[in-house]
């Protein structure tokens, strides 16, 4: 039963695709998924909840001109798939699309991504082992300081088998195992409550814990909460900002990553529309989106349209070189997908999404960058962000930040959002260091969440508006 999604026979898939195109349409696709998830939560000193979930089903889409019909089902029998195919084909049937080319039933040929066959078996952690990690994290966090008043440690693991077959003859499979461990702490002091958070997440099974120390995660989370008890309100207004390597990648995810997604581009809903070949950023900025990197959180063998993950250079020394593409938007422009078609589950339509998006390291020394900043803000950790791709205005929030005074990192600051405009901020990057690091995140778009990675080395932006309360 474990691999059910991966074993729909090719003849069945071929019949389902033929049924999907029976009423017309020029492309059909079956996306089948079998996903198991488990999570454990230790909160308030207690193992409060172990949860297990299982979901399997298939989403079928039929494309007719500019129109997509989509239906999904949890019934993976041939009858269930044929019913979904019939429902998805309703658009073509009703003439809602602009063209109705009847395609012949495909002959499927399996393709694999560069990493497709090298996956070994995934190490599964037992429930007991998982709880042991949670307890160790809880103890380490509480031992970090008397002011730690609350600790929540969570571990979530998922395994996802996907199978994609389409009317162009593509057949692809992937097995994606992901594991995430997080710790959030509350510290209490005279100034009230403050919080600290840290997580590790990889496209791995329980092997994650060969690479990650849960005690270190817990200590980091705890120290963030504790240091903010003494924090002063963040400044208000524009200052130079130094972003420490790792989570600062969120800046690029928001400032331009989303704006380079082709679905926004083809609708002229991005500030970067029509700017390929132009200098959109400082020459220090070379931005890459790469779904093939090691076991990073946004890594996979094939995307959710069966296209192998690949490395895409988006900005090369400040010059915009390309956008991110999924099947539909690429087809519209007569090119191939860049391997960025992703979906949350089989119940969702794919759209253009980032994978691991990062700035290549530069040549500066991280300490020197701080030393050469007379006054500014040092952001050690970012929490999240949001962007309006049409205007380019974006925010990102700090969860650990300090004042820089006289070239030195001094007092801790309370959390605040920073705000900027993508194209303006990209031009203000004036130093990039060598200390590259990646950070996992969850990216939300149009109601769908997918795992992504962000990364950069320590860098400086000459001016960003900081939304604190100190005048």
């Amino acid at each position: 039963v474990e691999e059910e999604a991966a074993v729909i026979d090719s003849p069945v898939l071929e019949r389902v695709l033929a049924e999907a195109l029976r009423h017309g349409g020029d492309f059909a696709e079956v996306f089948a998924e079998d996903r198991s998830t488990s999570s454990a939560l230790l909160d308030d000193g207690r193992v409060e909840e172990l949860s297990s979930g299982r979901e399997r089903g298939a989403g079928i889409r039929v494309v007719s001109g500019e129109t997509t019909g989509f239906a999904h089902t949890a019934d993976l029998t041939e009858e269930g798939l044929l019913r979904a195919a019939e429902a998805a084909s309703a658009v073509a049937k009703s003439g809602g699309g602009r063209t109705t080319t009847v395609a012949a039933g495909p002959t499927l040929t399996e393709t694999t991504g560069p990493r497709g066959s090298e996956r070994g078996s995934v190490l599964l952690g037992s429930k007991g082992d998982t709880l042991d990690l949670l307890r160790r994290a809880d103890e380490a966090a509480r031992a970090s300081g008397d002011s730690i008043s609350q600790v929540q440690a969570g571990c979530g693991a998922s395994r996802r088998h996907v199978l994609i077959a389409n009317s162009e003859g593509l057949l692809a499979r992937d097995e994606q195992a992901r594991t995430r461990f997080s710790v959030s702490c509350v510290a209490v002091g005279d100034t009230g409550l403050q919080t600290g958070f840290e997580s590790a997440a990889r496209t791995l099974g329980f092997e994650l814990f060969d690479e990650v120390s849960v005690e270190e995660l817990a200590q980091l989370a705890a120290s963030r909460a504790i240091s903010k008890l003494l924090a002063r309100p963040a400044p208000s207004g524009e200052l130079p900002v130094v972003l420490a390597g790792g989570s600062g990648g969120i800046l690029f995810h928001e400032a331009c990553g989303h704006g380079l997604e082709a679905d926004h581009i083809v609708k002229d809903a991005s500030v970067y529309t029509g700017m390929v070949g132009q200098q959109v950023a400082s020459p220090l900025v070379t931005l890459v989106d790469d779904g093939t990197v090691g076991s990073e959180w946004g890594t996979f063998a094939v995307d959710d349209e069966g296209r192998p993950a690949q490395r895409n250079v988006l900005i090369d020394q400040g010059v915009l070189t390309d956008y991110l593409w999924d099947f539909l938007r690429a087809r519209k422009e007569g090119r191939t997908s860049s391997g960025n078609g992703r979906r949350q589950t089989y119940q969702h339509l794919p759209m253009v999404r980032m994978t691991n998006t990062f700035l290549l390291p530069g040549e500066d020394d991280p300490d020197e960058i701080v030393a050469q900043t007379p006054r500014g803000v040092y952001v050690a950790k970012l929490g999240g962000g949001q962007v309006n791709t049409t205007t380019g205005d974006f925010v990102f929030g700090t969860t650990e930040a300090y004042l820089i005074e006289g070239g030195k990192i001094t007092e801790p600051l309370r959390d605040a959002n920073l705000i900027g405009n993508g194209p303006e901020i990209l031009k203000r990057v004036d130093a990039v260091a060598t200390d590259f690091a990646m950070t996992p995140g969850t990216c939300g778009k149009d109601g769908q969440s997918v795992p992504v990675g962000c990364g950069q080395a320590t860098l400086r932006v000459t001016g960003v508006t900081i939304g604190g309360t100190a005048e």
Partner: protein
């Protein structure tokens, strides 16, 4: 909009409610062995989504989904498992997995399922009989018409990047060995449109929507007018000035604010020391104008419900009365831990989630002046009107109370909306904002989500811009 009177669609016997789901939940709950408590939550839903773009259907999605979530308690230890299917083979597996999970939990005397508490559920009719018989072609037509209307609404609208129609019908049944037996069903419909206004190089975006219990009554004029007005009035926006200011929050933005405040009113967050309201019961936590009530029995509320997510009757809970903190929201476990009982406030995110305390229908008592938006603006005189906020997830904490968000909107001059501003932040702390509430509008609008929208004015906030 045309409404349909074509009755007798595919949902035969819909008036009786999800009886088959109740029967299924009862059957699974009856598999409990001695010494074991079992709670079974089953849900089933149908949905349709249409997206129109550039005069054609961009996508049409139709789907049926169903699933089960089972909680098991053995020796005060809780386990949970869920599955996205109601297949017979899945039911037993899911129960077995929940049982196994329970073995690993920490024994906790407060862990228990809800027990019927004698409070009668207030019936709320959330089911639109007609939705099931609306032909898909009518839904497609509505989305196409919405898109076309938005495109021609104003010469400055240069793009309509999404015009959507969506509807859903959901049926839920909940049965436990502790005596709970509840079922409910609900339909909903919406249209929404996102527009881009342009003038010269500058572009601005905004959205508008209309929501209801079904297809009938969805109002494309309202959705379009709202989106177009909001996008167009931002044209020419520049980065605003820094400084202290009174801030007026648009109704939609106020909904988000109240939702964040509500997380700090969760009895679970309070018990675990994760709320700035912890330990402040009976204290003055806000201005006298602040009276906050959660009342899911109000049928006008988007989140109205007869039963909470543990099967207890939903009820009216006064949380803050004239600025004094009067209560928190509890589910069964949080209530027990606090030495009190559930306030009927359990919520859960479908069959794959477990219950926790939360709001469904928050409202602020309107201020004595009975202001609408114009009234609040006139009373404030000078300040900033915030039309939309960004970065709420990254800049607002219901634990510390720290508040810092991105904003766009218009300056308020002489009591009226003046020039537009963008790329600014608005900051304070939630604690200070509640104390600095200047006005609460009487312009209550039940918006999607867990809180009503009302124009709010908050004094002494820090604006960061130029």
């Amino acid at each position: 909009v045309s409404t349909t009177t074509d009755r007798g669609g595919s949902k035969g016997g819909a008036a009786q409610g999800p009886d088959d789901l109740l029967a299924l939940a009862e059957r699974v709950a009856a598999w409990a062995t001695s010494g074991e408590e079992v709670e079974v939550y089953v849900a089933r839903g149908d949905e349709t989504e249409v997206r129109a773009y550039d005069g054609a259907v961009e996508s049409l999605t139709s789907a049926t989904s169903a699933g089960i979530g089972i909680r098991v308690i053995v020796d005060h230890k809780l386990g949970f498992a869920w599955a996205g299917s109601l297949d017979e083979s899945v039911l037993g597996e899911t129960l077995a997995e929940a049982r196994d999970n329970a073995r690993f939990a920490t024994a906790d005397e407060h862990v228990r399922f809800a027990v019927p508490d004698g409070v009668a559920a207030v019936p709320v009719d959330l089911w639109d009989e007609d939705l099931a018989s609306v032909p898909t072609t009518d839904k497609v037509e509505l989305a196409l018409a919405l898109e076309a209307q938005a495109r021609r609404a104003d010469s400055r609208i240069r793009q309509v990047d999404a015009a959507d129609y969506g509807d859903a019908s959901v049926e839920v049944a909940l049965v436990s060995t502790s005596g709970i037996r509840a079922s409910s069903r609900k339909t909903s419909g919406y249209i929404s449109v996102g527009v881009i206004a342009g003038e010269g190089e500058a572009s601005q975006t905004a959205g508008g929507f209309s929501v209801g219990r079904g297809f009938a009554g969805l109002d494309p004029d309202k959705a379009t007018d709202d989106a177009v007005k909001r996008a167009v009035r931002l044209l020419g926006a520049t980065k605003g000035p820094s400084g202290r200011s009174t801030v007026v929050f648009d109704r939609r933005v106020a909904t988000t604010l109240l939702s964040v405040v509500s997380s700090a009113l969760s009895g679970e967050a309070v018990a675990k020391g994760r709320s700035f309201f912890a330990g402040r019961l009976g204290e003055q936590v806000g201005d006298l104008v602040l009276t906050l009530v959660d009342d899911p029995t109000d049928p006008r509320a988007y989140g109205a419900a007869a039963y909470d997510a543990e099967g207890l009757a939903c009820r009216r809970n006064v949380l803050i009365d004239q600025g004094v903190l009067r209560g928190y929201l509890y589910d069964t476990v949080a209530g027990s831990r606090a030495g009190t009982s559930s306030t009927g406030s359990a919520v859960r995110g479908g069959f794959a989630g477990t219950p926790g305390p939360g709001c469904r229908a928050l409202t602020l008592a309107p201020g004595p002046e009975g202001y609408d938006e114009d009234g609040v603006l006139a009373a404030v005189g000078e300040g900033l009107f915030v039309q939309s906020m960004t970065g709420v997830h990254s800049g607002v904490s219901p634990i510390s109370g720290d508040f810092s968000v991105g904003a766009e909107g218009l300056m308020i001059r002489d009591g009226k909306l003046a020039e537009p501003v963008r790329e600014i932040t608005v900051a304070s702390t939630l604690q200070r904002m509640l104390q600095s509430l200047v006005a609460v509008g009487a312009d209550v609008e039940w918006l999607p989500g867990i809180a009503a929208g009302q124009t709010l004015a908050v004094g002494d906030m820090q604006i960061s811009g130029i």
